[in-house]
């Protein structure tokens, strides 16, 4: 078995999703090289450009509905707590249609990793604004321009009690680095990928970003994390804009799989419910 899929990608040429795909495959491949099996992994994607990643990685899982990646990942972890579940959403998926689940995912803290490909636009439906699109953005559905401020997902996840909150630019190396840290972390890891859409929302963030790690950010300090989260509000960058990237906050918390004796047994014997004979 190989992670390579027989399906030819249909993302636009030079779409940043290729960076995400390469990074995810590299990290999973390294995990497999050091002892894990392909069958130990499962991927879940929503609906949108991001979700095509499901077709391009040869792993089990489900390409589910728009907005429902998180409860599906939760269900898979509760169905077999030994699976390494990786979820992929777009900003429409995570912050519009599925917003309720995001807050609760932080509350349950099931041990799975969650990427939000945030391109600040509904790209696959040809360019409508999402909850993280800046004021003034115009398209055919909003000829008068967006009137509402974008939400700040980093601040939201910190406030929701998420124990692993990170943001990366859509660059293979950055994604790999944070993903590897997330794999080591026990619990729900939220990783937002700031990923300009080269067709519908092509903003130059590359010159505005800086690494939290390089500036000695204390990722165990929630107050500090919240301050860092406020530095960028997802509006169009100005001369002064600086966008922090990396892990804002990391702290292990009790996971839902460890709170129920039924699930602890499954973990202990490395089995899923499918192996329970009745």
């Amino acid at each position: 078995m190989t992670l390579n899929s027989p399906i030819k990608p249909t993302w636009c040429p030079s779409c940043l999703n290729f960076q995400v795909l390469a990074a995810v495959k590299n990290v999973v491949q390294r995990e497999i090289n050091t002892g894990k099996k392909e069958e130990d992994f499962a991927i879940v994607a929503g609906i949108g450009c991001h979700a095509k990643i499901f077709d391009y990685i040869n792993l089990n899982g489900i390409n589910t509905l728009h907005g429902r990646v998180l409860p599906t990942c939760l269900g898979m972890k509760l169905g077999n707590p030994n699976l390494n579940v990786i979820g992929f959403s777009g900003d429409g998926d995570a912050y519009a249609e599925g917003m309720e689940h995001l807050i609760h995912a932080a509350r349950y803290n099931a041990d799975f990793k969650y990427f939000v490909h945030n391109n600040q636009v509904f790209a696959l439906t040809v360019g409508q604004p999402t909850p993280t699109t800046e004021i003034g953005f115009k398209d055919k559905t909003n000829p008068l321009g967006v009137k509402t401020s974008p939400i700040n997902p980093i601040a939201l996840m910190l406030a929701s009690g998420c124990g692993f909150v990170a943001r990366v630019y859509a660059d293979m190396k950055q994604i790999e680095h944070v993903f590897e840290e997330a794999m080591k972390y026990k619990g729900f890891a939220f990783i937002e990928i700031l990923e300009p859409c080269i067709i519908f929302h092509n903003v130059n963030y590359k010159d505005k970003i800086y690494s939290l790690e390089n500036e000695n950010h204390d990722k165990t300090n929630l107050e500090q994390a919240m301050k860092k989260a406020q530095e960028f509000d997802y509006s169009t960058p100005t001369q002064e804009t600086r966008i922090p990237m990396g892990i804002f906050y990391q702290k292990e918390k009790p996971m839902i799989e460890d709170m129920y004796p039924q699930l602890k047994i499954l973990k202990e014997y490395k089995i899923g419910w499918k192996d329970i004979k009745r």
């Binding site: 399906i7 879940v44 589910t64 429902r68 939760l74 509760l78 077999n80 329970i276 009745r278």
Partner: protein, 498 residues
């Protein structure tokens, strides 16, 4: 002998415990007991009442006229006095509920030791209860009927939701997810209480949308997964019902109806969601819709839902209603449980139409092939369903007068048609529908449709599937949130006989 006892009072005064205590004692004496609950959507105060009907013969419903009324408050007397039969007994006053338990046992000539046994099993407040009960027992001087011990076989005394829960456990359920909604909530609490003993995961999560999607996630890892809700919650689930349809994910869904539209009448009963169960979710996909009529059938059909969902990888909907879910029935026979394999494997699932690799496809040929495979499977499901009781026949088998219905109305109909020239056809399989069997039973007969809704939805299914239309004058429909009562229903059916 068929005796009706009404217990009324404010929520919190304990009419439920009182009904349970009498009900269990009578069941232990070998009587058939049925009781239903009428309660409002509030926690303290208001007016709640239960009607308990018992007999030496099988009993699955209540009547409109009472032999005994226990009024724990003035309101009960005011509201229900007119239902008291001539010579019936009204117990009233401002004593606690156990005082009336004592008087009731005396009225029915039940030995005090039987009440003592019930109170001991109740545990809670035993010392206070027994003193109160003894006072009532000693003060009562009348006698309504003499209950004599009939046999020592103790049948089960349970409600529909307990039947669903038992059925799920016997089917090897691994996970149950739900969001609280009357009248399905008791399945959540029944299973939650037993989760450690039976090694099941029972979890309440943030919404019905989360519930069904978590269920999809668990089911594709191979866990036998079930969810439960009522109409409004089911509405929220339907996009994912369609997902389970295309991705071929086994799911067992318990749909306990209450009157809609919308919030409707939250704690009352109705059968308005049959067509929703059949047609909800976009696109054309396979599903099972089955409808039990008593708690024994709840157990049996739950096991069949697990069987079909695992065997054919489809969503299976068990449809009940508040009257069945929360009324207590005496069941002499043991249920016949269908075994189901746990056969789902983790692979590549998709909400899109897919190719062999499990990836999204837009290829016309593959789409056509997938659709045709689903249609083929529909036929296989219909063929397999023939091995089960898709409908049941009661009463006079060769009668030209046929009463047809589904679900909880079974109880009142079976009790109502005793000794009449009537055949009763109960439909248990709505999807797949037993078309040939139905034609055989109905053709050339005087069909009388009985349903707890305003439009006769089963009648529409029959018309759609068999081409037979039931005239409006032959429809007995009740849509005030209340269940049918056997004596009134008997009169209504009587008027439609030929």
């Amino acid at each position: 002998m068929r005796i009706n006892v009404l217990f009324g009072g404010e929520a919190g005064q304990g009419p439920n415990i009182l009904t349970q205590v009498l009900g269990r004692a009578l069941v232990n004496q070998g009587y058939y007991v049925f009781f239903s609950r009428d309660y409002q959507s509030l926690i303290r105060g208001g007016h709640n009442f239960n009607v308990l009907t018992f007999s030496e013969e099988e009993t699955h419903s209540n009547d409109s006229r009472m032999d005994i009324i226990v009024a724990l408050d003035d309101n009960t007397e005011k509201l229900h006095e007119k239902e008291l039969k001539k010579g019936g007994v009204l117990l009233k006053g401002n004593k606690g509920n156990m005082y009336y338990a004592g008087r009731l046992f005396k009225l029915l000539c039940l030995d005090f030791s039987l009440l003592e046994k019930e109170l001991r099993e109740l545990e809670k407040r035993y010392d206070e209860n027994i003193i109160e009960a003894k006072k009532g027992y000693d003060e009562e001087r009348q006698e309504v009927c003499k209950i004599i011990f009939r046999n020592k076989e103790t049948p089960s005394f349970m409600n529909g939701n307990q039947g669903i829960s038992e059925g799920a456990i016997k089917s090897g359920i691994d996970i149950y997810y739900a969001y609280p909604m009357t009248p399905a909530t008791n399945v959540l609490s029944e299973l939650a209480e037993k989760q450690i003993e039976k090694n099941i995961l029972v979890l309440e999560i943030e919404s019905e949308i989360a519930v069904i999607n978590a269920a999809v996630g668990s089911s594709i890892t191979g866990a036998k997964t079930m969810i439960g809700t009522s109409g409004g919650g089911f509405d929220l689930m339907t996009e994912s019902l369609s997902l389970a349809g295309i991705a071929e994910v086994p799911l067992v869904i318990y749909l306990a109806q209450r009157p809609g539209p919308s919030t409707g009448v939250a704690t009352y009963t109705g059968q308005g969601d049959l067509q929703m169960a059949r047609y909800s979710g976009h696109g054309e996909f396979n599903r099972l819709v089955i409808s039990p009529g008593d708690p024994k059938e709840c157990e049996e059909l739950t096991s069949q839902a697990f069987y079909f969902s695992q065997r054919f990888k489809i969503p299976a909907i068990i449809i009940s209603d508040k009257h069945l879910a929360e009324s207590f029935y005496t069941l002499a026979e043991k249920p016949n449980i269908t075994f189901s394999e746990k056969s789902t494997l983790l692979k590549r699932y998709n909400s899109y139409e897919t190719d062999e690799f499990g990836s999204a496809t837009e290829n016309a040929e593959i789409i056509k092939k997938n659709v045709e495979e689903r249609i083929e499977k529909k036929k296989e499901i219909a063929e397999k369903a023939k091995k089960f009781s898709q409908c049941k026949i009661y009463g006079k088998k060769d009668s030209k007068n046929v009463v047809i219905s589904w679900g909880s109305t079974k109880g009142a109909i079976v009790d109502a048609i005793k000794d009449l020239d009537i055949k009763f056809v109960q439909v248990l399989y709505i999807e797949p529908f037993p078309i040939e069997e139905m034609k055989k039973e109905l053709e050339g007969t005087n069909i009388i449709l009985v349903e707890n809704n305003a439009t006769g939805q089963l009648g529409d299914v029959i018309a759609e599937k068999t081409g037979m239309f039931i005239e409006d004058k032959n429809k007995v429909l009740r849509y005030d949130g209340r269940p049918f009562l056997a004596d009134e229903l008997r009169e209504e059916i009587w008027g439609k006989l030929k």
